[in-house]
């Protein structure tokens, strides 16, 4: 699966974009916020909403679980999220030519 490149925006707006993207992935996977939270082992689904609304971030330690729950490749998922959460790190890792 290929994902569109994130634009360079302030951190808050990038997180909002990440949230929108995650919401789209969840919709494609046919899951509700409650169902996704259940798969992730969360007691409440409020954190899923927090992330999708662009306020929270998917923690690094649970990126693989999110990717698996959403049915996408975990490596591509993490790489794409870093583009939103840590754009400079993403640029250095994947865009700067050696």
């Amino acid at each position: 699966m290929t994902f569109a490149k994130a634009e360079l925006l302030p951190p808050k707006q990038l997180r909002k974009q990440a949230g929108t993207w995650l919401k789209e992935l969840r919709a494609k996977a046919g899951l509700s916020q409650i169902q996704l939270a259940k798969i992730l082992g969360l007691k409440y689904y409020t954190f899923v909403s927090q992330v999708e609304n662009g306020f929270g971030r998917v923690p690094v330690e649970s990126m693989e679980a999110w990717a698996n729950a959403l049915g996408v490749d975990s490596s591509h998922f993490a790489k794409h999220l870093i583009q939103f959460y840590e754009p400079e790190l993403h640029r250095l890792l994947f865009e700067v030519k050696r």
Partner: protein, 151 residues
């Protein structure tokens, strides 16, 4: 930053499914952390099911969510920006008080981190720098040969 005004004594409905009284309590509990720069403001939102959420935001430019407060039915849930549940309560008054305590503790945690870093620096200074300064002849002789080579 969203600055939300809540007219006192107005109708019970407020933005995103919150009640004015609830928001007033939550903003009162959180607003003391704005002047110190610990928080830069708050925003409101809701879940897909329409449950209201209140997000306390950290300093700019990141403005990460420090705390998120949600109302699920009668229960208020307080989580941090990583989804860890800090507090669950069905009494808003007690919840707001405990949320304020969590914030105070967070401030203490930051101060403790600074103190720990300062102690580590101090230890490094006492262990490495002070002995070096106490033995000036040794230091001079240590630097003498490279300096001589540069001359």
């Amino acid at each position: 930053m969203n600055v939300v005004n809540f007219p006192l004594g107005s109708a019970t409905e407020a933005p995103d499914g919150w009640r004015h009284a609830e928001l007033q309590r939550l903003t009162n509990a959180c607003s003391v952390y704005l002047p110190s720069g610990q928080a830069s403001g708050w925003e409101l939102g809701e879940t897909d099911c329409g449950d209201p959420q209140f997000y306390l935001l950290g300093p700019a430019p990141e403005q990460d969510c420090i705390l998120s407060i949600s109302r699920l039915g009668r229960v208020y849930v307080l989580e941090d920006g990583s989804g860890r549940i800090i507090l669950e309560h069905d009494n808003l008054l007690l919840f707001a008080e405990q949320a304020a305590t969590v914030l105070r503790n967070k401030k203490r945690a930051i101060l403790a981190q600074i103190a720990a870093a300062w102690c580590a620096m101090r230890e490094f200074y006492e262990e490495r720098i002070e002995p070096a300064l106490a033995e000036p002849v040794e230091v001079i002789s240590h630097f003498a040969s490279p300096l001589g080579a540069l001359a």
